[in-house]
């Protein structure tokens, strides 16, 4: 197993898929000459040339639409949004064209396209550039959505996304690009729609995705010292959701804490909390807790910026609430 960064794992997935399938190409702002705003596409221009690694103008709706058209006629575009904050401009192409084309054409058009880029709060970026839009995409039937938290998942899920015949949104995380982890040397695909149990436990199910998964792991270690056994589940895929894994866990623990760094209203986290409450009502010993960001725009002040987001302490406190220890 090689140790590599999240950024390198994504680059390896792109490289392998471009080498494997000539219909795969990468398009976005600064992906070619500049090697990518976050260096995910480093070296790809040199290797695959300007026809397959294409710099675009700052026109998210335009180049996303070009990608949708290319996918419709048989290519496999990977559209890089510099961040999901800018992807809002492209919402119409994703929601109304990419997500609906297969349905509205009666299955005649596939839509093998990947939209990817960093999502979620980072640091010192203030209200407009530090926010999670997971629920924007997870809300839409016709899309698939993945949110890897570790290099191995970033590698395996991006490969699966590129090979998928449906549109897949990949939520990367700016704060995770530099984090390292083991990635299998052999080519590996992580199936879309499977959660990963990172740590087994008996007292509470900690359910999260993307960056806060790491807080959950830290919280679980702290809780272990206090004799509380938390099971940590990384959803990895937000659409489709691996509810079976969640059900199985909650059947064992009778308690769930969902952690989502997005705002609390109509979020992926609130939806998961609802499904568990609804489908496993008789097995719950406490209301499902949701640890989310506060329902406010991201403050620029760093102390406040940290305060409004989920963290280890908030997760531990929620765990103690569902265990009736606090």
């Amino acid at each position: 197993m090689a140790i590599m960064t999240y950024r390198e794992a994504l680059n390896r997935a792109l490289d392998e898929e471009m080498a494997r399938d000539p219909s795969v190409f990468l398009m976005g702002e600064e992906v070619a000459e500049y090697d990518g705003a976050y260096k995910v596409s480093k070296g790809l221009l040199a290797k695959y040339g300007p026809k397959r690694v294409i710099d675009t103008p700052i026109t998210e709706l335009g180049f996303t639409g070009i990608g949708v058209g290319a996918a419709q006629v048989g290519l496999r575009p990977v559209i890089e949004w510099m961040t999901h904050n800018f992807a809002l401009l492209a919402l119409d192409q994703v929601v109304n064209n990419a997500a609906k084309m297969r349905y509205m054409s009666g299955g005649r058009f596939k839509m093998p396209i990947v939209f990817r880029g960093p999502n979620g709060p980072a640091e010192y970026l203030a209200a407009q550039h530090s926010q999670s839009f997971a629920s924007y995409w997870a809300h839409i039937p016709g899309l698939k959505v993945v949110a890897p938290a570790f290099p191995a998942d970033a590698y395996g899920l991006l490969k699966s996304a590129i090979r998928d015949d449906d549109p897949v949104v990949v939520l990367e995380a700016e704060m995770l690009y530099g984090t390292s982890g083991e990635v299998p040397d052999a080519e590996t695909l992580i199936p879309i729609g499977r959660a990963n149990i990172l740590k087994t436990g008996t007292d509470v199910s900690l359910i999260s995705f993307s960056k806060p998964v790491r807080y959950c792991l830290d919280a679980a270690l702290e809780l272990e010292k206090e004799g509380i056994s938390a099971e940590v589940i990384d959803l990895r895929s937000l659409r489709p959701l691996d509810m079976e894994t969640l059900y199985h866990s909650v059947e064992k623990t009778n308690r769930a804490v969902v952690v989502d760094e997005a705002w609390p209203v109509a979020s992926v986290g609130s939806h998961i909390a609802f499904i568990i409450s609804h489908d496993r009502f008789d097995l719950l010993d406490a209301p499902v807790e949701l640890v989310s960001s506060h329902d406010v725009p991201m403050p620029y002040n760093h102390q406040l910026e940290l305060e409004v987001q989920p963290g280890v302490k908030k997760i531990m406190s929620a765990v103690k609430r569902v265990l009736y220890l606090e």
Binding site: N254, D282, L283, L284, D285, A286, Y324
Partner: protein, 471 residues
């Protein structure tokens, strides 16, 4: 968020309770699980443990007030919080004291036990809408007109911020779905439980603890039968078996005596005591009194036991783990059998009280025990206990030590026996004497065999010749 603290059903048959004493004042910080107040139920005085945490904002029912199960007794929340809505709601929903029939709890329980698919003891949660907002019960469905199990809206409202936790009109605290499911599977009446969750919510651990306490009792009782059932001879339970709900008193007996038997290494010393002088003493005293007042054997036993204990202070002690506490005062309990179970009220400082005074206190304690009016200070902290089964003709028996004491004296019946008597010349003769067998159970952690033997020797000597107590 402020939490309404309702009167809970602290015994299965309780429909209202009287606040005996508040342990905290308004403004005090309350920890969850702390004893908030004492409640006189239909059986005894019970501790009411706080189900919520925070500041005691308001005592709604002062000591001495009688409160129906489910009605507000206090509000716990954060300092300065507005609790007017809770108080207003409590006033609105509280039935006027003494009006309306009390819920037929006993009948319901019977119905529960006989029902092939046991009903939940909480009515189906019938929060009137999904938004979680409060919908007050229309006046036409006021509590006095409601049957607890008819499925009509019987909660005060769904949980919502700033509103009191839901309390069911039947007096059952809220419960988690899992707790309800587990209780249903076990055929358990949730009213037997006290919730440890917020607002007194009954949660999984409350059900588990209760079931554990049951199984530890029944596993011993049913041990033999279980073995047979494994061999296929017959099954343990049949439909004709009676399930007896466990009262708080019985729970207490089970827990305390179980702990005592498990933790205190018991040993037993038995002596036959010639009771002739003591009987004569009692008869002489009772006949001399012209007002009809008589003293019982038990009062005499308690006094004379205390006189023997005074000579052997180690007997009057408690094992404290890292030290032994030898009590300066001799507080003697007497085991009293009630229909509901055993209680052991205590007469304090028996060494310094006359037998008549002991007798008067004993009569008061026993009559209050029969009425269920014993307070904790009436039965807690015995340093020595006497259990007398003589009235049933039992010749001799051994008793389980009543903590925190280290010894208990088990007395059999006084019975005439043929005894070999040796006179001063060393001549033996058979005489008929009223004899009693007294068996001392001692905790070996505090009392060694020789100490117990010396004590029993003096006890027997004093009981055979009470004048020896003076020397």
């Amino acid at each position: 968020m402020a939490a309404a603290v309702p009167m809970l059903a602290l015994s299965p048959t309780m429909t209202e309770g009287t606040i005996a004493a508040w342990k905290y004042n308004e403004g005090d910080e309350i920890k969850r699980g702390a004893v908030l107040c004492e409640v006189e139920t239909d059986k005894a005085v019970m501790d009411y443990e706080a189900g919520a945490q925070g500041t005691l904002l308001k005592i709604v029912a002062p000591a001495g007030t009688s409160v129906k199960v489910g009605d507000l007794i206090a509000v716990i929340g954060s300092k300065g919080e507005d609790i007017s809505s809770i108080l207003a709601q409590a006033t609105a929903s509280a039935a006027p004291a003494g009006s309306g029939p009390v819920p037929p709890v006993q009948a319901l329980k019977t119905e529960l036990l006989q029902s092939p698919t046991p009903q939940m003891s909480t009515p189906p949660s019938s929060t009137p809408n999904n938004s979680g907002t409060q919908t007050p019960i229309p006046q036409s469905q006021a509590p006095q007109e409601q049957q607890p199990f008819n499925g009509s809206p019987s909660v005060l409202g769904g949980p919502s911020p700033g509103k009191p936790a839901p309390v069911l009109q039947s007096g059952v605290a809220p419960s988690s779905p899992l707790a309800r499911k587990l209780a249903q599977q076990a055929g358990l009446d949730l009213r037997m439980l006290q919730g440890s969750g917020p607002g007194g919510r009954i949660v999984k651990r409350d059900v588990s603890r209760y079931l554990e306490s049951i199984s530890s009792r029944s596993s011993k009782a049913l041990g033999a039968e279980t073995n047979k059932s494994q061999s296929g001879a017959y099954t343990v339970s049949t439909s004709e078996d009676t399930i007896v709900p466990v009262t708080r008193l019985r729970q207490t007996i089970a827990r305390r005596l179980g702990e005592s038997m498990r933790e205190a290494p018991h040993f037993y010393l038995r002596m036959a005591i010639d009771m002739e002088h003591l009987i004569n003493l009692r008869n002489a005293y009772n006949q001399a009194r012209k007002d009809g007042f008589t003293v019982s054997f038990n009062a005499i036993f308690m006094k004379l036991a205390a006189m023997a204990i005074a000579k052997h202070p180690q007997v009057n002690s408690t094992w404290m783990g890292d030290h032994i506490q030898i009590h300066s005062r001799i507080d003697v309990a007497l085991a009293v059998a009630l229909e509901e179970g055993l209680v052991a009220p205590v007469v304090r400082d028996c060494a310094h009280k006359g037998i008549e005074e002991i007798e008067r206190e004993l009569r008061d304690l026993i009559s209050r025990a029969k009425e269920g009016n014993l307070k904790p200070e009436d039965y807690e902290g015995a340093t020595f206990t006497i259990s007398n089964l003589g009235a049933w003709g039992v010749e001799e028996f051994t008793a389980i030590i009543n903590p925190p004491g280290s010894a208990i004296l088990a007395l059999g019946a006084i019975k005439k026996e043929a005894v070999v008597h040796s006179n001063a010349q060393g001549e033996d003769s058979l005489v008929i004497r009223p004899m009693m067998r007294a068996t001392l159970s001692s905790d070996h952690r505090t009392i060694d065999g020789a100490v117990a033997a010396a004590f029993m020797k003096d006890l027997a000597a004093i009981w055979e010749d009470p004048a020896k107590a003076l020397f």
